[in-house]
């Protein structure tokens, strides 16, 4: 198998088989507040997250990021809780005409944090700096493809629940954000680095 496809498959499977569910959970929380009609906003949000994720991985391929793995895990869990809290407390993207820039910037910033999760891991395993760029890049492409699949599923389920079963968007948001926030809090407690 070609090395590019090997790591792409690894990244895609890691996301889509739920093993890397902390990233999925973040995406679930990120999309919970939006309706299917706001698909453009969702696309920009996920793209902002992807850009942030990719920038950190690119920086990491040039040199080690001196943040301990446990701190990174804790920060990733914090992004899930913060996004869930923002959905419940903040206005999110529910109201038409509300500015989306703070949400896009939040997704970008949280993308930086999520990108840290894999960078030091690959660096330790691959050792040789020349060998790290391609695996990191192709793994990231696989992760992003997996994320797109996950977002499509989340949006489809949300549309089913709200349009077919008649649940209100607000209730769907509360249940999904509550679940994501609860799991995020447990992950924060498990990875407490201090």
């Amino acid at each position: 198998m070609d090395r590019f496809w090997l790591y792409l498959r690894l990244g895609f499977e890691h996301i889509s088989d739920l093993a890397g569910y902390d990233h999925i959970l973040f995406l679930v929380a990120l999309c919970a507040v939006y309706r299917l009609s706001q698909w453009r906003n969702i696309l920009i949000l996920v793209t902002a997250f992807t850009v942030g994720h990719s920038v950190t991985l690119a920086i990491a391929s040039l040199g080690s990021v001196p943040i301990p793995a446990r701190v990174v895990e804790f920060l990733i869990a914090t992004t899930i809780v913060a996004t869930a809290a923002h959905n419940v407390v903040g206005r999110g993207g529910v109201e038409a005409g509300a500015t989306m820039w703070p949400s896009y910037l939040m997704a970008l910033f949280f993308g930086f944090i999520h990108g840290l999760g894999f960078s030091n891991y690959f660096r330790a395993l691959l050792m040789n700096q020349d060998a790290i760029a391609l695996p990191l890049f192709s793994f990231n492409v696989g992760v992003e493809l997996g994320q797109l699949l996950v977002v499509a599923v989340i949006v489809a389920v949300a549309a089913l629940v709200t349009r077919v079963f008649g649940a209100r968007q607000r209730d769907w948001n509360l249940v999904v954000s509550g679940a994501a926030g609860g799991i995020g809090l447990t992950l924060m407690q498990q990875s407490w680095p201090f």
Partner: protein
Amino acid sequence: MRARRASACCCLLATLLVCAPSSTAHPLRLSLCEIEYSAERETLSISLRLFLTDVNEALVFDPHSTELRFAEPNEAPNAERLLLDYLNEFFGVKANDTPVALAISGKALSGEGDNRALAVSFEHRQAPPLRTLDIRNAVFTDLFFDQNNVVYVHVDSDSRSLMLSKKTPSHRLEF
């Protein structure tokens, strides 16, 4: 309105309580193996890169154990033996249908904390031509159902990559 708000809060709280205790973190499970054959030097070199937490879990059942201290000046006397016993059970290479005896020629550490990796090297005399390589890499598949073991093979100028796992632990290459 107040009743609706209260039911929404109950809904949120119930979901938080149900989901919080049942969740656990689940990292990516990976190891790397590099096999290189040089006909000119008549040498088959094997390098395994394993996360130290996984090695400790497999050998002493504690991922954060400091008992074996691999590749450190005060490495435990039984560390290599334990590692070789484990590898002989879960890892193996056959060159031209003959098993390669694993004898450690070097060890090194890289990374920090939970991302600390142990590189273990082996060297084996192998006269040309190398026609087949049978590789079995099931390391840590006894511990983790989703363990993936990446294998790079370089035979002179021919390079190939494999992904071995619990489901597909071995592969035969022909040159």
